[in-house]
Structures are given as structure tokens and as C-alpha cells.
Symmetry: C2
Subunit: 328 residues, 2 copies
């Protein structure tokens, strides 16, 4: 990664001049020389020659994307992870991110924990805070993440071809299970909570799919909803075999239909869903194995449009939820 000049100009009077920003940046500035001194109106990024910049931006709002009272370190971790997941889906190598943090009031303990969670996610991905803004208002976090690819490398949604294998990384439905459990007043299983609060961006997998996958997306809205994006952008139909959906143990005891609905419709999984021509599958499987991320074939791109899900008996399943609505 190349260096840059950090910008974090506006404390907006939440506390003494630079105190808030310092609280955040000192907990994140683990790279010697990365920071020219907090200040300046904007950050300066050195883009290496022969690279394109891949940019993603996502907002998380309290009470919509995370519950009121959620742990600040989890909120921070997830805010960055969902953006890194977008970069992963493009096959990009994360480089920098910008933080726009809106806080209702000043709670330095909260802010320190938030900065720690952000640092944890940033360190894990090798990405550096390059600038941001802090303002007063209802709690929300907008992160803009920047990654790098060589020209033409980026994975798009539009390249799926008839006959391609559809695959997913890891498994789906765990984050949705946590939300379901919580909405019923039950404490979710630890693995489900971890999936919801600490999603792992599949950065290395995304990188390994460059030159192999014909299309790729991260599963944020729900497997079927996201697969429908690929379907539309590529002009192909999608046929998913339900018996092949990788099932986490926490979902194994659910009634079959509930399980499928969670696995197909619940969002917030941040796994990658991708297509690849059949003759490249072995390569995909090998590199995924080397990275230590399971990948599973779950269906095939077909002629036509839209997505259908086939039950083990060959009949078409009608999913009961059409994608995860954040609080809607």
C-alpha cells in the first residue's frame, strides 16, 4: 500500500477542538509515517501507477442497521466490514477508508470503544483511515472504502454466462437467525451473533477470484436478492438447488422451509456469491482451500431470467421472504 496524507478537519465542536478526532485517530494510527498530521481540508492519496481505484460507500444507522445500545466496537467493526465486503466482491485490495461519524452526544468511553473496533477491522484488512468528518446528530456511520485493482481485473455483476456454476462462500442464514431470535426475545447462539455483529469481509477470496469468476456480489440483501442482481446485470436466469445450500449447524434443526427462507432471504451475511465457468471450478476450489474459505456450488446459470429454487424433489420452492429489509 502506498502512503497518503490524512484529513480529518472538522470536529464540529462536539468537544475541545481536536480532542474527538485525536481520540479516534490516535487509536488507529498504527502505521508510522502514514499520517502527515491531522488537518487539511481533504486527504491526498497516491494511487500506484497501473491501478484503478475501487470505491464503496455504506451507511449504518442506529435502530435500522444495528440495535439501539449495540456495542460501539461491534458497530464500528461492522461499519467497516460491510464496505470491505463490497471491495471484496469487486476483487479489490483494500487500501484506505474515510469515516463520517454522526454522534448524538459526547461519550468518550463510547468513542474509544468505537475506535478500537474500527482499528481491529482495519488492522485485519490492512486498510488505513485516511480522513473523515464528525458531526452531531442521530447516531450513524458512513464509511467510504477505497481499494485497488489492475485495469480490467474488477469482478462485476454482469459477466455470468449460461452454464456457469453458481457458488457461495461460507454459509448463509446465520445473521438472519440472530435477528429472528432476537425479535422473539431469545438470546441468539454465539455463532449467529458473531455472524451478525462481526461479519468477515472475504477479501482474500475476492482477490483469488480475479481472472476466474465471471461475476461476483456480496450477500448483503439476501442470497436470492443478490443473485437476482447478477441475473439482471448478466441477462441470465439462475437455478438454485436447495439441497446444496451449505447449512450452518445452528440452522440444522429448523423446519426445512424456515431454514430455506433464512438462507435465501435473510441479509447481512457478507459472504460472496459468484459465478464461474465449469472448467475453472477446480481452480476456484483449490485457491479457496489455500485461503481456508469453504466454497460450495449451489446451482447454475440458465437461459431466461429471474431466479428459481429447486427443492430436493425437483419442485420449485416459493420463498417466503424476498430479501432482508433493514427495519422496513
Amino acid at each position: 500500500m502506498t502512503g497518503g496524507r490524512k484529513s480529518f478537519p472538522q470536529p464540529d465542536s462536539l468537544m475541545d477542538e481536536f480532542a474527538l478526532i485525536e481520540l479516534i485517530t490516535t487509536r488507529l494510527d498504527a502505521r508510522p509515517g502514514a499520517m502527515g498530521g491531522v488537518g487539511d481540508d481533504a486527504a491526498i492519496l497516491e494511487i500506484p501507477e497501473g491501478r484503478q481505484l475501487v470505491v464503496s460507500t455504506d451507511t449504518l444507522v442506529e435502530g435500522v442497521h444495528f440495535e439501539v445500545g449495540a456495542l460501539p466496537q461491534d458497530v464500528a467493526y461492522k461499519s467497516l466490514a460491510v464496505n470491505l465486503s463490497d471491495l471484496a466482491a469487486m476483487g479489490a485490495r483494500p487500501a484506505w477508508f474515510f469515516l463520517a461519524l454522526t454522534l448524538p452526544d459526547l461519550d468518550s468511553g463510547w468513542i474509544e470503544s468505537f475506535a478500537d473496533g474500527l482499528n481491529e477491522a482495519a488492522q485485519a484488512a490492512g486498510v488505513a483511515l485516511a480522513g473523515g468528518d464528525t458531526t452531531r446528530g442521530p447516531l450513524s456511520i458512513t464509511i467510504t472504502a477505497c481499494g485497488l485493482v489492475r485495469p480490467g481485473e474488477a469482478l462485476l455483476r454482469s459477466g455470468a454466462r449460461v452454464g456457469d456454476v453458481i457458488a457461495v462462500s461460507g454459509s448463509t442464514g446465520l445473521a438472519g437467525l440472530a435477528l429472528d431470535e432476537r425479535s422473539r426475545g431469545r438470546e441468539p447462539a454465539p455463532a449467529a451473533l458473531a455472524a451478525l455483529n462481526r461479519p468477515t469481509a472475504r477479501i482474500e477470496l475476492g482477490r483469488s477470484l480475479v481472472g476466474l469468476a465471471s461475476s461476483c456480489i456480496d450477500i448483503s440483501d439476501g442470497l436470492l436478492a443478490d443473485l437476482a442482481h447478477i441475473s439482471r446485470a448478466s441477462g441470465v436466469g439462475m437455478e438454485v438447488r436447495l439441497r446444496d445450500l451449505p447449512c450452518p449447524p445452528e440452522l440444522a434443526e429448523l423446519p426445512q422451509e424456515d431454514r430455506w427462507n433464512l438462507q435465501l432471504g435473510a441479509g447481512d451475511d457478507y459472504e460472496l456469491c459468484f459465478t464461474v465457468s465449469r472448467d475453472r471450478w477446480d481452480q476456484v476450489e483449490q485457491s479457496a482451500k489455500a485461503i481456508g474459505v469453504p466454497v460450495t456450488q449451489i446451482g447454475e446459470a440458465v437461459q431466461g431470467e429471474g431466479c428459481i429454487c429447486l427443492m430436493p424433489d425437483g419442485r420449485v420452492f416459493q420463498p417466503g421472504r424476498a430479501g432482508y429489509n433493514h427495519g422496513a
Copy 2:
């Protein structure tokens, strides 16, 4: 400007799938070929060789940075303008921006007007929407703007030297006057309202200062507060002569002290404040004249630290407000 691939992946179920995003992007996509089709998890930007990327991010929150019920086209215009102003202060040429829009509900009329205001500001600056996110929550707008400079071109806060001239573009205090009038239940003068709602980013002036100004900042927090940033970053003191502050006609009738306080302390002006060595002043003045933006010498960088303001009789003025606090 080079092309890019637009990303706007997540409608977040505020309305039909892509309808909200289409509402926005169709009103902004005035560049043939700039848009590869809405979709993909992130945007791809082609950074021209030999350029650094300058990135600014700013959030505007309803009830904090603009009043509840403000016109959506003004809110949009200002959201982009304040970010372009940061790029202007760096001497960068704006290229792209990303929009993270959080809306409490769906009001397609509001959204259309918002998109129109955004388009107006974008067209004026020659900057293209490259991607974004839409979510549900309390109304707020985070824009991340990207500009380009040649390596070493960027104007910083840290270059002011003892003996440099301090200068401002346009005049200050009009936006503050509008806020003051409004807080007293009076309708502000049109010029004051325009300054508050439709600030002009001084992009061309910023570009013309490249290679001339020793430091630069945009006046968002208030002239003195922003000058203090330059003072601190450069390690010099600042001496402002109050009789030289350019005074807009709307402020001319105010008691002298009120006027100075507004001109020194109120924020939201988005003029440029910069320093330049005395022997380059003629060049600055000529290029500013060619652009049609007035620039005025208001003081001098001196040995020491901090900012002092000298009244016409030579005594030091103690400002009554220390910088504009957004709702704080």
C-alpha cells in the same frame, strides 16, 4: 476528466428495488458513457497517470446543518458545495462524488427536488456522481468528493511563513447574518440566504492559487477559527486588520462590533482564506481578477502563535464568538 463505472448498489427497500436510485441517477446522469449501468458493489475510477487523488467527506444533518423543512434542492446543493469547497481549498480539480443519503421516509417529490439541486451543483463544478448508498433513518447526507492534483500541487495548511500576506476571497459574515436573522424570527436578506443555502465553492480560485499560495483553507468554521488552523499547522502567528475585512453591504449597517463578530466568527461562508508571500500578491490578484473572484489582503503572518485582530485604532479586538458551532 476520465471515465468511471458508477456504483449505487443498495436501495435498502425504501421503495421498489431500483426505483429510488433511478430517481436520483437519471436526474444526474448527464454524461454520455459515464455510467456503466447502475449496479456493482463499488465504483471503479480511472485515475489519470501523474495525478494524486484528493478526497473530502462531509456530513450534513437535518436540524444541525440545515433547518427542518429546508428546501431539498438547497440541501442537496449545499451538501455537494461544502465538499467541493474542501477540494477547492486544496487546489484540486473536482472529478467525482459519492452520495450516502439517509431518508426518514419516501417522498418522491422531495427526492426529485434533491436530485435536481445535486445536479445543479454537480453540473456547475463539472463533477460526476460515481456511486453511493441510500438508507432509512433520520435525514442526513454524507458526500465524499474526489478531485485530482499533480503530485506536490495540493495546497496545505502548513506552508504559511512569517511575512506572508493573509487574504480572503469574497467576503465573510453573510451566512452568519442569515442564521442570526432567522434565530430572531426575521426573514434574512436574499443575499444572506443565498450565502447560507447556496454557497459557491471557489474551485477556480483554488486552482489558480496552486504554485502561488503558501497555505489555504476554506472558511467553514469561521474566519478566525479556520485561520487558527493555518496558524497552528504552519507555526506562525496571524495578525488580522479589521478595517481591511471586506464587508458585504448587508452587514454595513450593523454596529461595528456585531459586524466584526459575524465576519470573524460565523461559519458557513465557504470562501477561501490563504497566505501568500508578498512578492506573489500581484500574480494572485491578476489571476483572481481573470476568474472574477475578489480577493482582499486582510493581514499578515507574524512570529509567534495564535491570531489577533487589530481595530482601526491599533488596539486588539476580543471577538465575542469563537467560531461557529453547528447547533452546539
